[in-house]
Amino acid sequence: MTRLLDVTDLRVAFPTSDGVVRAVRGLSFTVDRGKTLAIVGESGSGKTVSTQAILGLTPDADIEGTALFEGVDLLKLDHEQLRRIRGAEISVVFQDPLTSLHPLYKVGWQIEELIRVHRPDESRASARRRAVELLGLVGIPRPERRVDDYPHQFSGGMRQRAMIAMALALNPKLIVADEPTTALDATVQAQILELIARVQAEFDIALILITHDLGVVADIADEVMVMYAGLAVERADRRTLYYRPHHPYTKGLLESIPGSSGARGGRLRPIPGSPPSLIAIPQGCAFHPRCPYVMPVCPAELPPLARVTGGGEHASACWLPHEAVGLGTAAEAIRLQAKEA
């Protein structure tokens, strides 16, 4: 089957002394084999927590919903079963390789250990060969020498390549990359993104790319999902999202990024206010306090993620008419008309 990951109504909450933090409030999405889903959101949108919860990396959380990976519900597995899947079937690339690679062990050794933990029958020599092969695959020059180096002997870009090598070690079907290039310089970022795309195509690996940067996504995503305050507010394929957005938050983001499809010439139009605290989420549609098109229904009822015109899988969680897609004046007219009504 081509459907690799099927998440339905995921809810993640953290009880704290100040109240319950509802980080994810009913998220559903799918990822197909070999495809790239980009999850985009700002701080507090829930984009990181959602995948962490699915992979069992949030021990203190209350989790509801289902997350079917090749038919198996990851949320129902116990610690040991999850551990076997993590690293082998699904691997993760984190933002800062300086903190996710162990500083006191050689890089090659860390890769070897990963291999041998999941494949106890593999010999030491064979695991080492594979580690060298992987380092070469990700573009690290002279891998047979560098395999014995420590993480601090690598530059930032090299470390991220090493992390990707680790992620590939056991031939995963899905890679979750959480802000993999945020800490890197632009030219290095371009190298890493190009590497990820190449590796993905070569090994037919599905990719979930989590980022706040709509620029990074414009290049490599097949499908984009925008999150706000713990929910998906819009989901579409790449071109549709950038040129025919429906949700006012997506549109607002595009209008506030210099150089983007929405911010052509002159002044940026920022979204007023700031994202809400996840302890006190506004009623109904969480975006309504900041929305320029807010209608009476918005604070009252939470809009469902529903299909929107334009075909394909374009969906948006907004009470505005389905025809109000796009950045042009026609769409704007429809929105304003709906608001006045």
Partner: protein
């Protein structure tokens, strides 16, 4: 610019009142039972010490008053605790409870004053050393090293042989030791604070070194200094007790826990209370201050969450 841009919190409606760093610390301390109990004990001790003369007047027993008839047994030994003498008496028939209370006055006075003086000197010197660096730092640091490696007892003996044992000599010796410990810590903190961007910002405004040290650096030193001082007070108290025990600090008839312990040495077999009560009081005081200091440190700067989180497994419903 619309109003919503100008007043972001107005847009989201609820103004979530923030809490200042001190309010947060207080909230944390309030949940720490150990720190609270210790704090209560410290306060109680302080009150009792201050009220010692009142207690003496109320019971009618002066600290130096020798009760030859009721306070001493036929063999001339101290009397065990009873209705009249709550802690029993000492070798001269004096009310031990009153003497212990008065001893508390001495201990707390010395502890607080000596540490206070040391803190003042230590903060200034430590800040200067850390902020200016270079030659000034080298000189001051070596000074701190010398002071910290001093053999204290010998120094105390020397001072006492010249000036005679007294309250001020004791305070002087203890302050002289403690300031270096505080200065070391303050210097380290200042060194790291110096590199913060807000210090750079202050320099870019044109603030003078003195202003930067006292307006920008000092408030950030308060928290660690408070913790350190709270933890140094019991050390000072024990130090004073040691000196008094050896006859180098407070000498009889003025009671101090140290000299009480010294006197009690010869009587512990027949009068357990003579050694016991001063010792236990000293122990409780020291423990209370230490635990309070720990609690304050955890409240101001909580680091590691509990090592073993209560809920290790995810809870999945439905």
């Amino acid at each position: 610019m619309t109003l919503t841009e100008i007043r972001p919190d107005v847009v989201t409606g609820k103004t979530i009142a923030g809490r200042s760093p001190w309010q947060l610390a207080w909230a944390r301390v309030r949940t720490d039972k150990v720190a609270l109990v210790s704090g209560v004990i410290v306060v109680l001790l302080g009150l009792l010490a201050v009220a010692a003369p009142l207690v003496a007047a109320w019971t009618g027993h002066d600290p130096d008053e020798q009760f030859r008839d009721t306070g001493v047994t036929a063999e001339g030994l101290p009397v065990a605790p009873n209705g009249e003498f709550w802690f029993g008496t000492d070798r001269l028939g004096r009310d031990l409870f009153i003497r212990v209370l008065y001893g508390a006055r001495v201990s707390l006075l010395v502890g607080v004053v000596a540490t206070g003086v040391a803190a003042l000197v230590g903060v200034v010197i430590g800040m200067l050393a850390g902020y200016y660096g270079g030659v000034i730092d080298t000189i001051l640091s070596r000074l701190m090293d010398v002071v910290l490696s001093f053999p204290y007892l010998i120094f105390a003996i020397a001072v006492v042989s010249v000036a005679g044992p007294s309250l001020s000599a004791t305070i002087g010796v203890i302050s002289f030791y403690s300031w270096a410990a505080i200065a070391r810590v303050v210097r380290g903190q200042t060194l790291s604070l110096k590199e913060r961007e807000y210090i750079e910002a202050a320099r870019s405004i044109g603030a003078s070194d003195r202003r930067i040290m006292f307006v920008d650096i000092l408030p950030n030193l308060l928290a660690p200094v408070i913790v350190l001082t709270t933890l140094l007070i019991p050390a000072a108290i024990v130090f004073e007790s040691t000196l008094s025990f050896l006859g180098l600090g407070i000498v009889p008839p003025t009671p101090s826990w140290g000299n009480l312990l010294s006197e009690a040495q010869g009587f512990y077999r027949v009068a357990y209370w003579y050694l016991g009560f001063p010792a236990v009081t000293l122990l409780i005081t020291t423990l209370a201050f230490n635990l309070l200091g720990d609690g304050i440190r955890d409240a101001i700067d909580p680091r590691m969450e509990r090592l073993f989180s209560r809920r290790r497994r995810r809870r999945v419903k439905g």
